[in-house]
């Protein structure tokens, strides 16, 4: 039995709502058939595996609050992901994403979104991306953004914004109007000026 299956079995037995599957050599969700049926699960950690595809069925896990897919080989995310009603923390950093699915901004309660170290740019963002009004931390470091759309001003709850290591030439003044912003990381870009609104 694979390492992953063992962990899942144990979790089912103990009725543990949290699933620790980090660095278990998982290549595909198909290795974990029971996973999609665990309707009580609140956290799944699959960091440091080799997953390439995320099945749309993942949206069945209606109780899921935290999904950690950091450091895998994921190239695209299913549209159904944004329909998960309780998902608050989504970490898809260090993957191979070059776009985000349609309707990605539809998450109901997403608070922390980690997209660090992918191949995303401003064109990768779907039209409704900035409707994520519940977002309080957005990690876009190590990507290929050359600009940030001014719609970023709609993220009224944003406290943390990481734009480190992109290709930004300027940043929109709307960032200066974000009422809750406490952390702004803009290192390693191509900025020559900053908007006065940041003051």
């Amino acid at each position: 039995m694979s390492k992953a299956k063992k962990v899942i079995e144990e979790a089912l037995e103990n009725q543990n709502p949290e699933l620790d599957l980090a660095d278990k050599g998982v290549v595909s969700f198909e290795e974990m058939p029971g996973l999609i049926d665990m309707h009580n699960i609140t956290r799944i950690t699959l960091s440091h595996n080799k997953i390439q595809k995320v099945p749309p069925g993942i949206a069945n896990l209606t109780q899921l609050e935290m999904l950690n897919l950091f450091n895998n080989h994921i190239e695209e995310l299913p549209v159904s992901l944004s329909s998960m009603p309780k998902l608050r923390i989504l970490n898809v950093g260090m993957n191979r994403l070059d776009s985000l699915p349609r309707g990605f901004g539809a998450f109901a309660v997403l608070e922390v979104l980690d997209l660090t170290y992918n191949n995303l740019s401003e064109t990768s963002l779907p039209g409704n991306f900035f409707m994520l009004e519940t977002l309080r931390a957005l990690y876009l470091g190590d990507n290929d953004f050359e600009t940030i759309p001014p719609e970023i001003g709609q993220l009224k709850n944003l406290q943390i914004l990481v734009l480190r290591e992109n290709d930004l030439i300027d940043i929109p003044k709307e960032i200066g109007y974000l009422p809750r912003l406490r952390e702004l990381h803009i290192q390693a870009n191509r900025l020559t000026v900053l908007p006065p609104e940041l003051g």
């Binding site: 950690t45 960091s47 935290m66 470091g141 480190r164 952390e183």
Partner: protein, 342 residues
């Protein structure tokens, strides 16, 4: 002179007693006759200048000698006192020179009182006595204040000299001086109010309904409130004696204070109730503090790295691509070091 027949033969000089020759000049003064050489000053034996003489005990003197011999010297200016002499205090005085030792008013027609070897007018004497007896002197009328003085702007007065600034009633010693509020430091700006008006002004006004507070007062946030009007700024429920929490001039109940201002956990986004773990400009519930990349729980003893101000456990850090680690290391070396706290 009626009834006296003057005949030349029986006239005689009042001084020497001799008769008069027919050719002699005769000085006639007040019915008496003298030889001119006999009508002289009894002291210097010279005729009287301008015919002016002074008489004393049957003798006549010229002005100068009379003054030298008999006129008193003024106790104040040292000059002879001619005319009205004031004799007092074992000395003589010109009327204009005999003055109250305190207020310098002329005492001649006022009367005086001897007070510790000074001549004082009656008022100053009374004042002097009053000071000694402990009673106050009114600053306005200078009379003795028999009962309690009204203190006002640093002086004492009879209360009845003033009227209430608000209602105009005549005041007594119970009246209150209202010190002006901040902005006016000088005493001169103070006003007097009768006790009633003053107490009416002391009534606090509720910060919520702006009406006077007659019963129990709540004092908070630098204002006064009706008990039922002192409410949480968020849920508007009255505190009714329960604890309130203040922030930026507003009061909140415990729930809403923590909701609005409490430390929120980075993972669960709730107000941290128990112990707080602070690091990297964030806070965690102690039991939620975990690696941001593999969700492995950590304690304050766990060694962790920092990436974008998120904690990374050693295992995850070592799984980062080497070039990424290199860049992180470089950035870390370049930033000023700050200590984290739990």
């Amino acid at each position: 002179m009626p009834g006296v027949t003057m005949s030349f033969s029986n006239m005689s000089c009042s001084r020497c007693g001799d008769g008069f020759d027919p050719h002699d000049k005769i000085v006639n003064s007040q019915g008496e006759l003298w030889h001119p050489q006999c009508f002289v000053c009894s002291q210097c034996f010279r005729p009287f200048p301008d015919g002016l003489f002074y008489e004393f005990e049957g003798r006549k003197y010229c002005e100068h000698d009379f003054q030298v011999l008999f006129a008193p010297c003024c106790g104040k200016c040292g000059e002879f006192v001619i005319g009205r002499v004031i004799k007092a205090m074992s000395a003589s005085w010109h009327p204009a020179c005999f003055c109250c030792a305190v207020c310098n008013k002329e005492l001649a027609d006022r009367g005086f009182v001897r007070n510790r070897n000074r001549a004082l007018c009656h008022e100053c004497n009374a004042a002097d006595k009053a000071v000694l007896s402990g009673r106050h002197i009114c600053f306005k009328c200078h009379g003795v204040i028999d009962d309690k003085p009204l203190r006002f702007r640093g002086e004492v007065y009879h209360g009845y000299h003033f009227n209430c600034t608000a209602c105009g009633v005549e005041l007594n010693s119970d009246a209150r001086e209202l010190k002006h509020r901040s902005g006016y430091t000088a005493n001169e700006m103070n006003e007097l109010y009768c006790l009633r008006c003053h107490d009416k002004m002391g009534i606090p006004i509720c910060g919520a309904c702006r009406r006077p507070i007659e019963e129990r007062v709540v004092t908070a946030l630098g204002k006064h409130w009706h008990v039922e009007h002192f409410v949480c700024a968020k849920c508007e429920k009255p505190f009714l004696g329960h604890r309130h929490y203040e922030r930026k001039g507003l009061a909140y109940c415990e729930t809403h204070y923590h909701q609005l201002f409490g430390n929120l956990c980075f993972v669960c986004n709730q107000v941290i109730g128990g112990d707080v773990f602070t690091a990297l400009n964030k806070a965690w519930c102690v039991h939620h503090f975990a690696c941001s990349f593999c969700d492995q729980k950590m304690t304050q003893k766990t060694k962790f790295y920092e990436c974008d101000l998120k904690p990374a456990c050693k295992k995850c850090y070592e799984k980062f691509p080497s070039e990424f680690r290199r860049r992180l290391r470089k950035a870390y070396d370049n930033t000023p070091k700050k200590s984290t706290s739990a």
